[in-house]
Symmetry: D2
């Protein structure tokens, strides 16, 4: 980290600050410019409170020169991490489609959808949606009901299961789930991140709609601090002034993340656009930009779905998308 | 709600849609324009899935004409709600300052700060900060430690206590807390909202940095659905491209919220700007815009604070701010 | 347009407003709901001042139900517009790459780059950059100098020429330019839009980094009002909180624009990301999302470019990109 | 400026880069850390192309440590600049209200409004609005007509005149204007900035809705490079996801700008909120945050204004606002 001092700082005050940094176990490299003195801190600055330092009378600004994360940093692990969801690999050249109905309504429905998804090329089943459109006190009950439908479909098809989790207490109920999804609203839910960090079950960590790339990586870091290295990152749109889509899908985040971290990066076009007719072009775009996988909301009959029907693809439309995704993947593989 | 049909819709398809709306218990008022047919829905449309309707082949767009919230809507309760935090009233002309150290470090320190805050005009004590700068598995332990310091200061000064809560399991430990703070990161934490909705303890609900005003009110609505009407809303900045402050304090949100809801509205300039030297002008601005109260981070020695030192005011600086706040309040009272 | 009245409006005031709308040549369809009365306006509402109407005491809100643009609206012209830049077609299934050096430094350099671009598959030459990094009073002179290099390269290669224009006075100097580029900073420069609207030379209109899709289309409409129908729209990123790229490339805007307008839509990944290593994946993503063309900054030696070197591809890297673009186009054509 | 090299850079490549910086007239201070080597550049780096440097293979990132502007930088001129608009001073403790009708409709109307504004405490007259709601080819004609009404009111009341200018060709027509307003849409209109920079007439430079604070100051710098030092900065809202107001008024920008520059800073609440009922609280907030002046849209009969009626205050409402502004000013003066 670099600390830029104000131009009229006395030598006395400067030395006092340097001593304080030394007392924190940091080396300090002083460089005098025409208008400013700059201190280069040497050592582990990850936990320094830059806001506090910037508030000091004699400091003009601070600048980080190393990323504030280590475990997920590609600098410290150049080779790709490959995450295994049961027998499905993601990352390091392995690509997978995770699909299923946001509106899981009956065992029969989910089993039928799962079968057709599997045939069309999806390798992981997902489903259910936990949102406030469900009335207050039944939100968890509703979730367990959907879980039962998905478990049935897993038994029938053998597909591993991906499911969103919103609370630590639910963990025991997620035994049959093969990869935990942390939704964008829980990217900063520290008790949940900490609990999943102590398990070795894979986790899909979705980027909050207000998170920078560094903040996403810091949440990954927070999970990994518990020992769990099986993290998959997911871009699902950020909040901007653009008003036709629910969120703005940040396609550049995909190559940027793959540059900064060794973790796999997938994309969820259904939840970022909120509009099924955009899921097709945006999913293809995500693949072309280098995504390691996709999450896609698919429903047997979107127009009669009990919730989120607006974002779901029909199973037929999904088949066609899966084919084109495969073709784009081939172009990139050459 | 208004449903705008595409201009080439057949009468048949239109009638089918109308029938479906009727089956949902809604009346439909049809109005034919030159290029479009518009359906006006009459009845309770709060739970209609507009995304799904918009995805229908024959629908061009939908437009809500009533707000998607009822309990907190000023239309249904014109008079201001007054929330009592122990014996401190907020709203309906009552103004209060909630202050204390984000970095609560010892019983002695917190008691001293609390005494000087009380004398300077603060009426509710707050403190502690729950964030990821604390290492993974000690985040909760750290919180309970800070709680003990605050409880001691409450006993000494008689000030009611405001404290952030991040998890349902912590509720039993918050018996001595007089008003629960839901931080911006938990504005969509449904299990937590639901649990606090079943209590009658007051709640300060902070606006998520990515939330629109309607979304904030929907979270308030979600709490109120459980029966708890003692909600105080708090503006604490939104995420924008502006890069000098941590967040952009949305001062217009204060008069807008007071127009749309009968709930009290307060402001937290410490956490929105992240810079102590901006807390003063922005807090005054919030008062001038009509806020019912302020949350302010105050520390006995900000430059040596263990965390968040950059945003904390010194106790001396707080005194001066409290005086000016009072003067601005007088201007508005005239 | 829909006008929603407040719930306690007297019949008298309502009738007065209806009369006023009638006096503006509009029909009014009244629909009474439980809590609100809604007026549906019938006729040409494009020029109604919705802000004024919303400010009326008796009005709660207004909602547009028709788009505020006509000439570029796909509703009124379902078939794609094909714009011809000299003999190069864009739109309606025709795809073209517009490329060249943002940093045009000598006749020789630009001619060499143009030759290699042509061979690699680019069909329109562009170049030069008009920005504040050039010192105040030489910004125009610098531009004319770059123009001369581009004109030479046009003569040598026969490629049509695309060049940014920032001022009405420059029009006479742009005789040799085949398509005028309106940069994002001039999307609201009305005198410039009006002047280009009176010509029949094609125009590439770039989306302002703060413009919604409707605002971009309104600027296109403003040009078309003068008679010029040869407009190509260009997505080049919006300003968001995301901090690693100069702007956030809004990939969803491509399919959305193609849905709303019959005009061709192209993408500029160089200027939106500002980082050459992202130009490749983001350009492929734009193609996969359905773009009708690309603008790409290419330089013979990016690291020694006099300006904007950070965003320019080398000619070798461009060749490889052009090949992959062609393959993605094939996947979509099937 | 600080240049951070990648951690595996060879000494050879490093020395080559240092030589290149030397050839640009810059000194280089090398500091070796555990994972990175950092180069501190000494000398004038204002015109260095950081994007290009960041694109070099061996560079990880660059960080500016000095602000990219000099002439408007408070570091180089600690005392406030006072700008005189005719005999009205703004800045350095001097406060002024600039007011008038965005919808200037007749000589009589504007004269009447001006008289009542003057009496209520406004010191500069403004009016007219140049926007696309006027049809294409009459936008300038309309502007000259409004100018005539304002000139008449200036003659009658003796108030100096503030008027928006959108094009270099209009300058000769602005002889009677005492302060030129550069609207947010022209903050990057370099030919216009350059032309006004060569005059000594005062300029109000409005922040673009997509501009950071540094970008606003760079535009001020660009004008000042021509010699004109009479610049007043104006905050008028930024574009964010917040959807109830036209833009989000960034109240923190006021104290931040006053910290970074010696130029006066004023606020335009009318154009940032677009809603007259918010102009009152937001204008008071701007004053409380330390603004040196206000721009306010006032109309004799807002509901019948020909344009922008939604944002205009009535003259009566303005009087009351001006009184409260004065009281807030007194609180701050103490």
């Amino acid at each position: 980290m670099i600390v830029i001092l104000k131009h009229d700082v006395t030598e006395d005050k400067r030395d006092q600050l340097i001593k304080w940094f030394n007392s924190q176990g940091l080396g300090v490299d002083v460089s005098e410019g025409e208008y400013q003195t700059i201190l280069g801190l040497i050592g582990d600055v990850l936990n320094l409170d830059t806001d506090m330092i910037e508030s000091l009378d004699i400091v003009q600004a601070t600048r980080r020169v190393t990323e504030p994360y280590k475990r997920c940093n590609r600098k410290f692990q150049p080779e790709d991490t490959v995450v295994k969801i049961s027998d499905v690999a993601i990352g390091g050249g392995n690509f997978a489609i995770i699909a299923g109905p946001s509106s899981a309504e009956s065992e029969d429905q989910v089993v039928q959808i799962a079968k057709s998804l599997k045939q069309a090329g999806a390798s992981v089943l997902t489903g259910g949606a936990i949102n406030s459109k469900i009335r207050t006190h039944t939100i968890q009950d509703q979730n367990y009901k959907e879980m039962a439908f998905l478990e049935a479909a897993k038994r029938e098809t053998g597909m591993p299961l991906a499911k969103e989790i919103i609370s630590v207490e639910d963990i025991p109920k997620y035994d049959n789930v093969d990869v935990m999804i942390i939704g964008e609203r829980n990217m900063h839910n520290y008790p949940l991140l900490a609990a999943l960090g102590c398990m070795d079950k894979p986790v899909i960590l979705k980027r909050s709609i207000s998170a920078t790339i560094d903040e996403l990586l810091l949440s990954a870091e927070y999970i990994m601090a518990g020992g769990n290295k099986n993290i998959i990152l997911c871009e699902r749109g950020i909040r901007t002034f653009a008003d036709y889509t629910k969120n703005t899908f940040d396609v550049s985040a995909i190559p940027l993340l793959k540059e900064k971290t060794h973790l796999p990066v997938i994309a969820d076009a259904s939840r970022s656009t909120g509009l099924s007719r955009l899921v097709y072009p945006v999913s293809l775009a995500a693949c072309a930009a280098g995504a390691d996988g996709l999450i896609i909301d698919v429903h047997n009959d979107p127009t009669s779905a009990e919730k989120n029907g607006g974002q779901a693809l029909s199973t037929e439309f999904f088949e066609s998308l899966a084919e084109d995704v495969e073709k784009i993947r081939e172009v990139l593989r050459k």
